[in-house]
């Protein structure tokens, strides 16, 4: 009897643990809540930012597509512009240990200083839990959550899926467009797009 109860509890625990992964975030639906430590050791909870726009940016500084937007200063500019307008910008690093883009909190903080980065916080997700919860596939990949907690954008940063910095000037920035429209109370005209970039370096994947 005792053994049966234990097995039952193990099954229940397994089910509970897999539940959040069963269904990834989807545009138009409630953005799943999370609680993940940032590079300053603070727990960042989505629900703490209710009432504000939240941007999630998947990042991997070794990825040439991420580098396109950081080496040009484009990403830092977006971070600065939008946080100044009250947006909470959370950069997420889901690279597993020993994989490209994996960093410790200290390494990330010193790099942020060096590149003049301006996100609200950088979330460390080496187990890929948050990445899988939002089904992030590439770096970069952008999500926008509105003040009511609904996911209103999921996709690419812009419409030029290349590593060429020269393309930034001629690109339509989907993230800014989504934020502008949503802030003006309009529906987001491009609520999803195919994200482009390197695959997120989750644990257990070989590329």
């Amino acid at each position: 009897m005792r053994r049966a109860a234990t097995s039952w509890m193990i099954v229940a625990a397994a089910v509970l643990c897999t539940l959040p992964l069963a269904r990834a975030a989807r545009v138009g639906e409630r953005a799943p809540d999370f609680s993940v430590a940032d590079t300053n050791g603070k727990l960042e909870k989505l629900s703490d930012y209710a009432g504000k726009f939240v941007v999630l940016e998947w990042s991997n500084r070794g990825c040439p597509y991420t580098q396109k937007h950081y080496n040009s200063g484009n990403m830092q500019r977006l971070q600065r512009d939008w946080t100044q307008r009250g947006v909470v910008w959370l950069t997420v690093i889901s690279s597993a240990p020993r994989k490209q883009g994996y960093v410790t909190a200290a390494e990330e903080n010193s790099w942020l200083k060096q590149i003049n980065g301006a996100p609200t916080a950088v979330l460390l997700d080496p187990a890929g839990t948050l990445g899988h919860l939002y089904d992030a596939k590439t770096t970069p990949q952008m999500f926008v959550i509105n003040p009511q907690g609904t996911l209103v954008y999921d996709g690419a940063i812009d419409d030029k899926p290349t590593t060429d910095r020269a393309d930034i000037g001629r690109a339509r920035n989907y993230l800014s467009q989504a934020l502008e429209e949503a802030m003006a109370g309009k529906p987001v005209s491009t609520p999803t797009s195919r994200p482009y970039g390197c695959s997120v370096k989750y644990p257990g994947t070989w590329f």
């Binding site: 990834a24 989807r26 545009v27 070794g62 990825c63 040439p64 597509y65 994989k99 490209q100 899988h132 089904d135 596939k137 590439t138 999921d154 996709g155 899926p161 290349t162 590593t163 609520p191 999803t192 797009s193 195919r194 482009y196 970039g197 390197c198 695959s199 997120v200 370096k201 989750y202 257990g204 994947t205 070989w206 590329f207």
Partner: protein
């Protein structure tokens, strides 16, 4: 262990220093691209006004891959910019059958090993075989293993070439590539696609039960690339169940792609989607 260390310390140090130096030298000289890229022609001669097959041949280092026309969840297709003599015109790449790459929730479509991307080239109407012509191309491609590297290559080819043995081998490479490329949908076969909400159901009638199939979508973002494709053989073909992409907001009018039923049995697929959208 200690004795071993003492005995080998000096040679080991020299070896390590040498390795460190070699690594630095390689990194400084140019980007290591993990691929050999060249231009080859199917035939060692050209006919005025006709189509000639010319291709970009990638010899990829083990473990590295490049991408199909639809790269899947990540990656980018190779791009070719041609420099051709006046009156010559390059058309679209005829993409060979890709393979599924990756694991987990990120699935890409591409190529490993040796891959030829054939391109039909329209030869100028006033072409005269008197002297060799030079065809050149700038090739930009993303090459990935665990990491991705954007790479560039410059390749050129003179036709006719003086190397006759190469010419025969190249001809074989084109034959092999065409054998492994999607063929037109056979006339007697039927295909239907119905939309049941979350899934697309492809019903194929090939006249015989088909146990295996893989579908490669031509358009990005129509199906969930990482979802398992459910294959059910039927007396006259099969059914393939494809999960629709979460990023899909507009209904799919026509589903286009490549259906692979086995080695050398890849077919171009295109069918209107019926049922609720």
């Amino acid at each position: 262990m200690f004795a071993f260390s003492r005995r080998f310390a000096l040679p080991l140090t020299i070896l390590l220093l040498g390795l460190a130096f070699a690594t630095t030298a390689a990194a400084q000289s140019f980007t290591v691209t993990h691929a050999k890229v060249s231009l080859i022609a199917e035939n060692n001669s050209l006919q005025a006004g006709q189509t000639a097959w010319v291709g970009v041949l990638f010899d990829l280092e083990k473990g590295w891959h490049i991408y199909w026309v639809n790269p899947g969840d990540s990656g980018e297709r190779p791009k070719i910019q041609w420099q051709l003599p006046a009156g010559f015109q390059a058309k679209e790449i005829r993409w060979p059958t890709p393979v599924r790459l990756g694991a987990g929730t990120v699935i890409d479509y591409g190529y490993e090993g040796r891959v030829l991307l054939p391109v039909p080239i329209q030869v100028a109407a006033d072409y005269k075989a008197a002297k060799p012509v030079m065809l050149s191309a700038d090739i930009r491609y993303l090459i990935c293993r665990e990491v991705c590297i954007p790479a560039k290559a410059q390749a050129s080819l003179s036709i006719p070439s003086t190397n006759a043995s190469n010419a025969a081998a190249n001809h074989e490479l084109f034959r092999g590539t065409f054998d492994n490329s999607p063929k037109a949908w056979p006339g007697g076969w039927k295909a239907q696609v119905s939309d049941n909400g979350g899934f697309l159901l492809l019903s194929l009638d090939t006249g015989t039960p088909e146990p295996h199939a893989t579908f490669f979508p031509l358009e990005e973002d129509q199906i969930d690339n990482s979802a398992v494709q459910g294959v059910t053989p039927t007396p006259r073909g099969m059914q393939i169940k494809l999960k629709k992409s979460d990023q899909l907001l507009k209904p799919i009018g026509t589903l286009k792609g490549v259906v692979v039923l086995g080695q050398g049995r890849a077919f171009e697929f295109s069918a209107p989607v019926e049922g609720k959208k």
